[in-house]
Symmetry: C2
């Protein structure tokens, strides 16, 4: 977290108290935030999980007959586009060694993460409700593609769980910097 | 937000820079946080919405045959218990005029809100998936209690939407105070 400060030549008076930093400067690079290698790893994980969920659901022939399964496909596509976009920004920032500590950029990422985590999680829950209905309540799995439905739902849940650290860290970073600006 | 400071007699040197407050003191009472009248209003709203959702779903005779409907009933019960507990703490804090700015208390509320918002929202999504399946995809609403299912799902969604400000404000308060502690 302090790599940039350590690599730079030591400034004349080291600040003893972090509360005395000039306003608007102190937005710590927590691991998992945009522009960090762990943030990029989170994005790639989300992208892969959403892609696998999309592939598993699309591979069934009859997903279009159930609204919840269409919704999870749309949610997975949205998730792929969002994670890919942020991953590309992360790769750019890592390549040119720029930190993404801009307040508005982090706010934008936090809002985007909130929207995608809501959409992906709701799609996963709705599809899980239908899958449990088919499998446990009606026991008509033999007529349906239950394994594909289940793997798609599981991947969508894992995708939304891997999204929540990104969202919470971005929100945390915005809230932490707010008080000093 | 600055009412308390304005009502108190003016302190000798007004702090020019908020970053120079002593560490650990500055946790602002945002509207909607625990211990404020708007926070109490949010809790009462959540409690009422969860209770209506629970009542609407329980009034149907066959909800127990679908797992997702059982889950939304359990989620609504959990939500009622949580909102009632926090509302009682809020009422106590308002009556004795104590503010609930303790770091660990707000962290506890934020974690509890995160759990209940996840449970209530997932229950609403799962039940919504089943309701849409019954209503639109299979068109067997005449054989089922669609209006009750729909109103229960709508109330559960509104409950989770009214929970998210509480959760985000609590997380915001913890993150804001973190940097100064």
């Amino acid at each position: 977290m302090e790599v940039a400060a350590a690599a730079a030549p030591a400034p004349a008076p080291a600040p003893a108290n972090p509360a005395q930093h000039p306003p608007g400067v102190l937005m710590k690079d927590l691991p998992g935030m945009p522009g960090t290698p762990s943030g990029l790893a989170l994005r790639v994980t989300q992208l892969l999980l959403a892609a696998v969920s999309l592939a598993a659901m699309s591979s069934t022939s009859d997903f279009a007959s159930v609204s919840a399964f269409c919704y999870i496909v749309a949610a997975a596509i949205l998730q792929c586009v969002w994670s890919l976009s942020v991953a590309m920004v992360d790769i750019y920032a890592l390549l040119v060694k720029r930190c993404l500590r801009n307040r508005w950029l982090v706010t934008f990422f936090a809002i985007g993460d909130m929207i995608t985590v809501t959409v992906t999680f709701s799609g996963a829950c709705a599809a899980a409700g239908i899958t449990v209905l088919i499998d446990d309540d009606l026991s008509i799995c033999s007529m349906n593609h239950c394994p594909s439905f289940m793997s798609s739902v599981a991947m969508a849940f894992m995708c939304s769980f891997s999204l929540s650290p990104s969202f919470i860290l971005n929100l945390w970073a915005v809230a932490s910097s707010r008080i000093l600006a």
